[in-house]
Amino acid sequence: MPVSWPARVTAASSGSREGAVLGELPPGSEASTVPPAASGDSDPCPTLKPGAKSNCIIVSARQRGNPILKFVRNIPWEFGEIVPDYVLGQSTCALFLSLRYHNLNPNYIHERLQLLGKTYAVQVLLVQVDVKDPHQALKELAKMCILADCTLILAWSPEEAGRYLETYKAYEQKPADLLKEKVDQDFLSIVTDCLTSVKSVNKTDALSLLSTFGVSHLLPIRVQTGPCHC
């Protein structure tokens, strides 16, 4: 199967480079949306694994034969020596768990999580829901994820699970613009959006303020509404 990879690697890697250019952000910068408070209880500083800086999803040898790999089509992947099941970027990794397997070996995931520790900023527990009555198991996993600082993601089919892996890798450096409220890119909209981020200002206020003052006069107003601890 891996024979056919090289051709795809080039195609996909150019794609991800493009993403980085568009985003204008070097890798890892997005961690800054997390306030430094995050570093208080643990050390989320991602340890750069050898070979982690790659355009591929790195797949642990344990996952050999997992049907979800068939559905990782848009992003190249390769096997590597890693602790988690998948490394999806410099600070992102994933463990895969099929609920059917979990019901047979309930201790397995516990051991894997302990082994993994808290090495990556985003640690995904990708669970494939393939049993009829998943509720009890899901409840236990949910609690476990909160204790182990994992992000729980559920997929209902191997296709969906594969898609999550692809997306995590593809969006590794994507800015959050897609999630934010759309703001028109003209000057007025930006200023309005900017001013209304002060709680006591609404849109009409912003416009009337703007017609009275210029931006350079307006900005200091912000200071009076709340002290800046810069």
Binding site: D149, Y164, T167, Y168, I190, G226
Partner: protein, 909 residues
């Protein structure tokens, strides 16, 4: 109890019994539809409309409340019921409660007031629950009753419903409802109850059933549609063998609730269904509409619907096969035959047959209009004539009787009105011209033909407007002497509700004005009555003749009000509806001595008749099942929850409180902490708070700006249903919610809650694209988790599962503080110590062009305040930001003069 004012109609025998039964012992009354459950509730309301009692009424809609208050007002009740809605501020509510009387309260407000003890629960006399069959689905009312019973052991709970069919489905439905209501008694009042039956038998209105027979074309069409329906049902069963066969019978398929039934079965697995099944469900719906149109409206409207079906099929290529069946061909042929026939012997130069444009033959086709009239229309005409002639010699009855004509919907009413005033030919001609374009020649010819026929056959020609006019005049002259109408009549245009009907009416006016030239005096007087309803159509002033729709009024009591105000002697049911028929019986019984004659117009052997009979049978079966269930029901003594033994009222407190160590000796004080969850006020629309409360966890309702549920000082939860999740991921709301959650709480959690009646899955089968698409919900979720590494996600298949999980998450953790939670607002200055930047300023900076997540911190490290930022030069900025492009953007933005901005803004506009 006996202080009922004389204004109100005397209660009927069986109503007295229902009232007394329920008055003496709490219970659930299930009454046949239309038998006046509202009248019984009204009696209870009247009883408690006094300051000394405090009675809450649950589950009423604003229109119903309006009606009840109106009725009580006209009965001269002084202390009228009041409404507790969000218009009354929380501070004033205690006062409102203590003033007593009857209160209609919004459930959400009541829940919060019970939880915060704002309502003096010990003072409540009791609770009346209207539409009690909904208590299982609507959790809030059940929650209110549980809170009420926990705090008040003496008050009464009385419940009312007239929907017996709702209890027919599911296992032990009625028992579950009664358990939720905390009542032990079940009172059943079907129409066949001996007391009801014998009483109503005594006051039977005069009923004239007229079985109209359908035209051969209509019959053929009906048979064809039924054939197709059958085929579709068979297909549906073949594709989904798991479906319960019994409910999918042809008889059920023609009834209105069939859509609901089928959705009920298919919803949980909707995402697994193939396209074929989905389109079959759609087809069944269309076919049902066709059946309804066939009997309800005229031939032109029906043909129009059929043709448009064919057109959409051609345009979109959607086709599930039934259009190719033989039956459907026969349906099309007959539908056309009712409107026109194509004769090929005549040659016309001006053919406007648009559909046949492709046939460019020498011999041009010519349409010869047939325009088959509705048989029911003729029957209605006959009935009106009979009434008319009877009104002529009605001196001994005290003048001519008013006439009320009821048809199912607004459209039918408008059509009937036009028919009665202008006649069938005019109506059909106008409809034909409107839908198929003006085909003047054909139309003229048709009218000519009709006139010829009429003048020839004088025996049957009194259907024409001329004859009609004469009669109207005659009767009105006669009536002028003795009429004594207290209704104010104004010469106004009858108000119509829907725009399309208004349009139709305008069209009609044009038409009628052209007709006026020939027949002058028949000009109908449009008038507007001071009636309670605004949905009716007046036809004649004297005797008052009104058409009123049975359904689709904004006010559900519109027809009732009209009935009592107009007091008709003759009621013509153009369409039969069970509720209204029963209402007429009650009306007749409450006015003994007043003659009432009811005409039923029904197509014999039609699906219309079948539908009516099915509804009757369904209700009867439902009652029979209820009677059986009642006989075998075992009701525990403590059901009412008036003592401490009702297990439903026991909150599961053993597991909720921190488990005490049994090895510790009694001397050592081990305080068990009461678990608390802080819940946002807006969350009381959902079922979850009630379920949490049931687990023995206290709920503190406050208005939260960040998060929906605060479990511990660290854990903050934002709950999203699937539709909310999709919406808030798209509009950016979830992103800002996550920002503020992770800013103020150590463990921000997004809870994705699935609807237990739908499938537990985020994406449906086969909806995955080949490529990664940024529009997919899964992609956005991925991006969200990448940007908020501390954000945890909980996936809960039902609110029950969520409540359980909440309880377990709280174990061995400290309790949240409502004051702190409330103080946290999106812009609050309480900052976790570790964050050395002011979050407000950071948000502000981030919105300025040129500043991004990366250089924001660098910038904030270099400047002391935002005012300092303004003083910096562009060079300095580029030095700080390390990027000339960003620096220029930032500098330009700050120093752009407002005049420039405005002019730019103007050009943009």
């Amino acid at each position: 109890l006996e202080g009922t004012p004389p204004v109100m109609a005397a209660p009927l025998e069986h109503e007295n019994q229902v009232f007394l039964d329920l008055f003496h012992q709490d219970g659930l009354v299930i009454c046949a539809r239309g038998l006046g459950i509202d009248r019984i509730l009204l009696r209870f309301l009247r009883l408690y409309c006094e300051p000394a009692s405090l009675v809450l009424v649950l589950n009423t809609s604003p229109a119903e409340e309006e009606y009840f208050i109106d009725q009580l007002r006209s009965d001269g009740v002084v202390h009228l019921p009041r409404r507790v809605t969000n218009e009354i501020t929380s501070n004033c509510r205690y006062e409102v409660y203590t003033q007593g009387g009857v209160l209609f309260a919004t459930s959400r407000i009541l829940v919060v007031d019970f939880l915060t003890d704002r309502i003096p629960s010990n003072l409540i006399t009791g609770i009346l629950v209207y539409k009690a069959h909904r208590i299982i689905e609507s959790c809030q009312e059940a929650f209110i009753l549980r809170l009420f019973r926990q705090k008040n052991k003496n008050g009464f709970i009385k419940a009312f419903t007239d929907n017996a069919i709702a209890f027919h489905t599911g296992f032990c439905h009625v028992e579950r409802v009664m358990r939720n209501l905390f009542v032990r008694k079940l009172y059943l009042w079907p129409r066949f109850h001996i007391a009801v039956n014998s009483f109503l038998e005594k006051h039977k209105p005069e009923v004239v059933e007229i079985h109209v027979s359908m035209t051969p074309a209509m019959l053929t069409i009906q048979t064809s549609i039924l054939d197709i329906l059958n085929v579709c049902l068979r297909e549906l069963k073949r594709y989904n063998p798991a479906l319960e066969v019994e409910d999918l019978s042809l008889e059920n398929a023609i009834g209105k609730p069939f859509d609901k039934t089928i959705r009920h079965y298919l919803d949980p697995l909707w995402h697994q269904l193939g396209a074929k099944t989905k389109s079959l469900v759609q087809d069944l719906k269309i076919l049902r509409t066709l059946l309804q149109y066939l009997t309800q409206y005229d031939c032109v409207t029906f043909l129009n619907l059929v043709e448009s079906l064919k057109a959409t099929e051609k345009a979109f290529g959607q086709n599930s096969g039934w259009l190719f069946l033989d039956s459907s061909t026969s349906m099309f042929v007959n539908a056309r035959a009712r409107v026109y026939r194509i004769s090929d012997d005549k040659i016309s130069k001006k053919s406007k047959v648009s559909e046949k444009m492709d046939i460019k033959e020498r011999k041009e086709l010519k349409r010869e209009l047939v325009l088959e009239s509705n048989p029911k229309w003729e029957a209605l005409r006959e009935v009106l004539k009979e009434i008319e002639s009877e009104n002529k010699n009605s001196e001994d009855l005290g003048g001519p009787g008013q006439v009320l004509i009821c048809a199912s919907d607004d459209r039918t009413c408008a059509q009937l009105r036009e028919y009665i005033i202008a006649g069938a030919e005019a109506l059909l001609m106008r409809l034909y011209n409107k839908t198929f374009g003006k085909d003047e020649r054909a139309g003229e010819e048709w009218i000519k033909d009709r006139k010829a026929v009429k003048s020839k056959g004088n025996a049957r020609s009194d259907k024409g407007p001329q004859a009609k006019k004469a009669k109207v005049e005659a009767s009105s002259k006669q009536n002028k002497i003795m009429k004594k109408q207290d209704l104010t009549l104004t010469q106004m245009m009858g108000k119509t509700e829907e725009e399309n009907i208004e349009e139709e009416m305008e069209g009609y006016k044009e038409l009628s004005s052209s007709e006026e030239i020939s027949i002058e005096e028949t000009k109908p007087e449009d008038f507007h009555l001071n009636l309670a309803s605004d949905a009716y159509y007046g036809i004649f002033k004297t005797p008052l003749t009104i058409i009123h729709p049975l359904q689709g009024c904004s006010d559900p009591y519109a027809l009732t009000r009209v009935l009592h105000e107009v007091e008709p002697r003759y009621v013509v049911l153009y369409d039969a509806e069970l509720t209204f028929v029963r209402q007429l019986e009650i009306y007749k019984a409450s006015k003994p001595g007043k003659p009432l004659r009811v005409y039923f117009l029904i197509y014999g052997g039609s699906t219309e008749e079948q539908r009516y009979l099915t509804v009757l049978r369904k209700e009867k079966e439902a009652f029979e099942k209820l009677i059986r269930e009642k006989a075998s029901m075992v009701i525990p003594e403590e059901r009412e929850g008036r003592d401490e033994t009702n297990l439903d009222l026991v909150r599961d407190s053993t597991s909720a409180t921190v488990s005490t160590d049994t090895r510790k000796a009694g001397g050592q004080e081990q305080k068990s902490v009461q678990q608390t969850i802080i819940v946002d006020m807006r969350e009381f629309r959902s079922e979850l708070p009630s379920l949490i409360h049931r687990r023995g966890i206290d709920i503190e309702p406050v208005t939260l700006e960040v998060g929906d549920y605060i479990l511990t000082p660290d854990i903050c939860i934002e709950r999203k249903s699937i539709s909310d999740l999709i919406g808030s991921l798209n509009n950016g709301r979830l992103y800002s919610q996550c920002i503020s959650m992770s800013r103020y709480y150590k463990r921000p959690i997004l809870l994705i809650e699935f609807d237990p009646s739908k499938s537990f899955s985020l994406t449906s089968r086969g909806s995955l694209h080949q490529e990664i698409s940024s529009n997919d919900i899964t992609s956005k979720l991925t991006l969200l988790t990448l940007h908020f590494p501390r954000l945890r996600i909980l996936w809960c298949p039902s609110p029950h599962a969520t409540a359980e999980l909440f309880e377990e998450l709280k174990q061995n953790r400290s309790q949240p503080d409502a004051a702190i939670a409330m103080a946290i607002t999106a812009d609050s200055e309480i900052v976790p110590e570790s964050d050395k930047y002011n979050p407000g300023s950071k948000d502000f900076l981030l919105k300025i062009p040129g500043v991004n997540a990366k250089n924001c911190h660098v910038l904030m490290n270099h400047i002391k305040s935002i005012s300092e930022l303004v003083t910096l030069s562009q060079d300095k900025l580029s030095e700080i930001l390390g990027n000339a492009v960003n620096a220029k953007q930032l500098y330009d933005f700050i120093h752009k003069s407002y005049a420039e901005a405005i002019s730019q803004g103007k050009t943009k506009r």
